[in-house]
Symmetry: C2
Subunit: 381 residues, 2 copies
C-alpha cells in the first residue's frame, strides 16, 4: 500500500461501522419494534434500495430530493435514486401493487436510508429506520393509533416513559392565510415563529392585524397538551384554524383514552419538520436528553389520507441500557458436541477451540465446558 492511499479504516463522513455488540443490539431493537407493529396488523413490505428517481422523488419524496444520491443505471440508461426516505416507496406500493386491498391499509417497513449530506446535529448519512404507515384513514383515531404504536414500540425497545410532542404545522399558515399576510411580512413572521421569538412575532403580527395577532398567544401556549388545548379553545380563531384546533383536541382525547399516563406536549404554531405534513405532526422523546426517537404525522400517500411514524433504532439504542450478554463457554477440542448443543439451548454462547492455540482467554470465555456443565473460569486460573 502506497502512502498516498487513505487508511483502509477511513470511511466517508457520516458513514460508520457498527461493531459488536451494537450491531446485534440495533437488529434486536428493530425486530422488537416490528413485533409490536405486526401484533396490531401492520404488515411488512420491503421496497428496494434503488428506484427510478422520478418515482422515488414523486409525492412526499420531493421533500428529500436534494438529499438523494443519484446514479446512472447502465441497464435502463435512466437515473436511479438511492432512497433517502422510505415513505414515498410505501406510498407507491400502496397505490399500485396493493391498490386493490381494502382500506385502511396498515404497512410497516425497516431498512437503511442514505442522505447526500449530514447536518451538524445529525452527521449520519446512513440512517436505519423502522416505520409504519396507516393509509386510507383520516380519523382522529387513526392519528391516535399511529402515535400510540410509536409509544408502544419504544416501550418494547426499553424506553421507559416516552413522551409525545404534537405540533400543528398547518396552524400558523392557516392564521397567516386568514390575515391575508403575504410576501416579505409572511416570511419574517415565519422566521420569527421558527425562532420562537415572541417579541418579534408580537410586533410583526400587530402590523399584519387580526387574526395574526393570535399567534403570540398560541406561541406562548406551547407546553403540556391540556394547557395548550385550553389556549386554543379560548383563542378567537378563523374557521380553518378552528378546525385544526378541534382535530388536535380530538386526537389528544383519543390518545388519552388509551394512554392516560402518557406525557403529551402541544406546540400549536410550531411548523418546522417535514414539509409534507398536512395535519398533526408527532415527535417522540425518551426521558432525559435522548434526542428524537421517532417522528411522524399526517400526510398524503398519493391521493389517499395517511398517517405514519418513523422510528430511529440507532438513537433508541443509545438511549436504552445494553442488555447483558450471555456467558461465553469455551468448548475444548474433542469435547462432546451434544453437551455444547445443550448449553446453547440453555442460552449460553459456545466457542469451539479449533486448534491447540485457542484458549478460554483468547476466545474471551467466562466459562468452560466440563462434562456437561458450563463451569466458571477462575480469574487467576
Amino acid at each position: 500500500m502506497t502512502e498516498d492511499l487513505p487508511s483502509p479504516a477511513l470511511l466517508p463522513s457520516g458513514l460508520t461501522d457498527l461493531l459488536p455488540p451494537e450491531a446485534a443490539r440495533e437488529a434486536a431493537l428493530v425486530e422488537a419494534m416490528h413485533a409490536v407493529f405486526a401484533a396490531h396488523g401492520y404488515e411488512r413490505v420491503k421496497p428496494p434500495l434503488l428506484e427510478f428517481e422520478d418515482s422515488l422523488l414523486a409525492g412526499s419524496g420531493a421533500a428529500v430530493a436534494d438529499q438523494t444520491f443519484r446514479l446512472m443505471d447502465p441497464d435502463s440508461h435512466r437515473m436511479l435514486g438511492l432512497r433517502a426516505d422510505t415513505t414515498p416507496q410505501v406510498a407507491r406500493i400502496a397505490a399500485t401493487r396493493l391498490g386493490a386491498v381494502p382500506r385502511p391499509l396498515r404497512l410497516s417497513y425497516s431498512g437503511q436510508v442514505l442522505r447526500v449530506r449530514g447536518t451538524q446535529l445529525a452527521p449520519q448519512r446512513q440512517i436505519p429506520q423502522v416505520g409504519i404507515e396507516l393509509i386510507g384513514a383520516d380519523s382522529a383515531e387513526a392519528d391516535a393509533e399511529v402515535a400510540l404504536l410509536g409509544v408502544e414500540a419504544l416501550a418494547a425497545a426499553g424506553i421507559a416513559a416516552p413522551s409525545l410532542d404534537i405540533t400543528l404545522p398547518t396552524m400558523a399558515p392557516a392564521l397567516l392565510d386568514a390575515a391575508g399576510v403575504e410576501g416579505d411580512l409572511r416570511r419574517k413572521l415565519a422566521r420569527a415563529l421558527d425562532r420562537k421569538d415572541a417579541a418579534a412575532v408580537t410586533e410583526l403580527a400587530a402590523i399584519a392585524g387580526p387574526p395574526a395577532v393570535g399567534l403570540t398567544g398560541l406561541l406562548t401556549a406551547a407546553g403540556p397538551a391540556d394547557g395548550a388545548l385550553a389556549a386554543l379553545t379560548a383563542a378567537d380563531l378563523p374557521p380553518a384554524a378552528r378546525a385544526i384546533a378541534d382535530n388536535a383536541a380530538a386526537i389528544v382525547a383519543a390518545i388519552r383514552a388509551r394512554a392516560p399516563g402518557l406525557r403529551i406536549t402541544l406546540d400549536p404554531v410550531e411548523f418546522r419538520g417535514l414539509h409534507y405534513h398536512v395535519g398533526v405532526a408527532f415527535t417522540l422523546y425518551g426521558p432525559g436528553n435522548t434526542g428524537e426517537l421517532a417522528r411522524g404525522g399526517r400526510y398524503m400517500s398519493g391521493e389517499e389520507p395517511a398517517t405514519g411514524m418513523t422510528l430511529y433504532p440507532d438513537v433508541v439504542g443509545r438511549a436504552v441500557a445494553a442488555p447483558p450478554q450471555p456467558p461465553r463457554v469455551f468448548i475444548p477440542r474433542g469435547a462432546d458436541a451434544a453437551a455444547a448443543a445443550a448449553l446453547r439451548a440453555q442460552g449460553f454462547i459456545t466457542l469451539a477451540a479449533l486448534s491447540d492455540s485457542d484458549t478460554p482467554q483468547s476466545l474471551r470465555c467466562s466459562h468452560i465446558l466440563r462434562g456437561t456443565v458450563a463451569a466458571p473460569i477462575e480469574e487467576n486460573a
Copy 2:
C-alpha cells in the same frame, strides 16, 4: 401525471418490492440464521452500504469490481461504491477496528448487496445476504465449523435436509501447474473442465502430458464425498495437489465427526465460483430443486487466513413452506383495550376499527373480539 411518464409500478430490472407476507418472512429467516451464528460466538457487525471504492474493491472485493455501482460523494469529492459483497467490508473491519482482538475472530453480518447487472439465471440486482466469517484460523476444523454452521442455520430456517457440495478450486490449477500447461492449451483445458466435457479433457490432457492426464479421472470422480475422496487417494498426484486432497479429506472427516448423516458431495476439479477462494469452496442446497442456498469457502481476509459462508434468505424463503399466519381479530370501536392487548399477548393479531366503515371483512379478519375472547367469524355471517 402525463402519459410519457412511466407507470409508478415500474421498477428497474432486477429490483423488486417484497410484499406481505414475504417481507416479514425473509426478516424472520434472517434472524433465525443469526440466532444460530450468535449461539456459536459469531458477533454481528454492520458496515455501511457505501464506502470509498478503493477500500471496497480492495482484496476479495476486486472479484466484484465490475458489478459495483459507483457514485460521486459530494462531501469528499471521491468515488464511492455501493457494496456488491459484504466480505471485503468485514475484512476491513477485522484488520482495522478489530485488529487487536485475539484470533480467531468470529463475525456475522446481514444486509443488502447491489449489483450493476443481473444474470439470466439470477436476475436480481439487490440480494439479501446473511453471512459469517471465521478469520485467523486455517485448520480443517475451522472450515468444518463454517460448513456445519451453514447447515445448522439452514435447518433453523426450515430446510429439512441440506446437502453440502465441496469443490477444490485450487486442484485443477495445481495439476496444470505441475504439468507445466500454459497459454492456449491451459485455457482450452480450463474451458473443457468448466463444461465437464470429459472427452475434450481427456484429449487435451493427453497433449499436456502427466500429471494433467489425471484430470479426466478426477472429473468423473465427482459425486458422493467418500467415492471422490477414494479416487483422490488412488490418484497419482503431484505434491501440491496431494496436499489439497489431504486437506479435503481432513475437512470431510471433521464434518462427518459432527454430522454423520449429512449428504456431502465432492467435485475435485470444479473451479468455477468466486475467484478469491484459496482452499475448499462450499455450496449448500436443500432437498429438491431449491437452487444454491448458501456459498462459502476459504479465502484471505487481508493478510489472514479465513473461511466464510454467505446464505441467501430470499432463496431460502422460496424453498421452505410459509408458516401459518396468526389469526386476525377485529376490535370494534370502543371495545376494551385491555382485552385486545391480552389477545396480542396470546399471539393474535388485532385490528382496531377506526371508523364505522371498518368491518371484519374490510380488515381481513377471521375473528372478532367478543367480551374478552376472539370469536371466529362465520363464513356467511
